[in-house]
Symmetry: C2
Subunit: 137 residues, 2 copies
C-alpha cells in the first residue's frame, strides 16, 4: 500500500478546510500545535504537499515568497479573490479571462499556456474596520 491514514493528515485537512482563506504552512503548523497535537512542522509540509498533489488543495506564492495553501472545493480550474487583510478568499470563475489568456498566448506563438490570475484586495469587513481606525487619527 502506498498511502496510509494517519490522524495527522486528517488534522491538516481539517485545519485547511476550517481556514477562511489561504494560510501558510507555518501558520497551519502553529494552529495545529495550539490544539494539543504535537504535530511536526515537516509533517504539515508533507501533508500539504500531498493535498496539493491530489488536487484537494490549491497553492500560490504570497508576495513575500511564502507558499500559501487553501482547501479547494471546486475541482475545476478557477481563480481567487483574496483579502489582503484577513485572508478571506472567494473563488471566482473567469471564463472570459481564460479565453483571453489562451488567445493571447496563441497570438504570440506560445503553447502549453497556463496562467496565474489572482486578485488581492481588502474585503468589505476589513475595509470598514480600516475606516474606523482611520477615524481615530
Amino acid at each position: 500500500m502506498a498511502q496510509r491514514n494517519t490522524w495527522q493528515r486528517e488534522r491538516v485537512r481539517e485545519a485547511l478546510a476550517d481556514a477562511p482563506g489561504f494560510v501558510s504552512a507555518q501558520a497551519l503548523h502553529a494552529l495545529l500545535r495550539d490544539e494539543n497535537t504535537g504535530i511536526g512542522l515537516a509533517t504539515v509540509y508533507r501533508a500539504l504537499a500531498g493535498l496539493a498533489a491530489q488536487g484537494d488543495a490549491d497553492s500560490l506564492q504570497s508576495p513575500d515568497g511564502e507558499a500559501l495553501y487553501r482547501a479547494c472545493t471546486s475541482t475545476g480550474h478557477h481563480h481567487h479573490l483574496i483579502c489582503r487583510s484577513c485572508g478571506r478568499t472567494v473563488e471566482i470563475e473567469a471564463t472570459d479571462v481564460e479565453q483571453w489568456a489562451h488567445d493571447t498566448a496563441e497570438k504570440h506563438g506560445f503553447t502549453r499556456a497556463e496562467h496565474v490570475v489572482d486578485i488581492f484586495g481588502v474585503c468589505a469587513t476589513c475595509t470598514a474596520a480600516a475606516e474606523n481606525e482611520r477615524a481615530g487619527d
Copy 2:
C-alpha cells in the same frame, strides 16, 4: 542628497536590460561577477529593490519562491507572457482584464484591488525545439 550614482547600480541596470526575460537576483549576481566586477550580492539585491521601487523594473515570484526581476520598458501597468523554457517575455496589455478584475473585486465588496495576471507558456521557438527532441524518442 538621497541617491548617489555608482557604477554598480548602472551595471545592474544594464545587466537587467540585457537579459531577455525575467532573471533572479542570484543569476544576475553570478552574471555580473563573471564580467570582472567584484560586485557584492547584497548590492545586487539593493539595486534591484531600488529599480523595482522606481518602477524601472518589474518583479514577480517564480513558482519555486524565487523573486524574478525584469527591466520594464513601458512604465504603465501591464502583464507578462513568459516562456517557461527560455524565459523570454512579452509585455501584454489587458484592458479587458483590468476592467474585469476591478468589477469582480467591487462586486464582492473588495476595495484597493490589485491583481496578478501572468501567462506562462512555451514560446514558438522552444516549442519547435521540443518537437525536434520528441522526434528522437
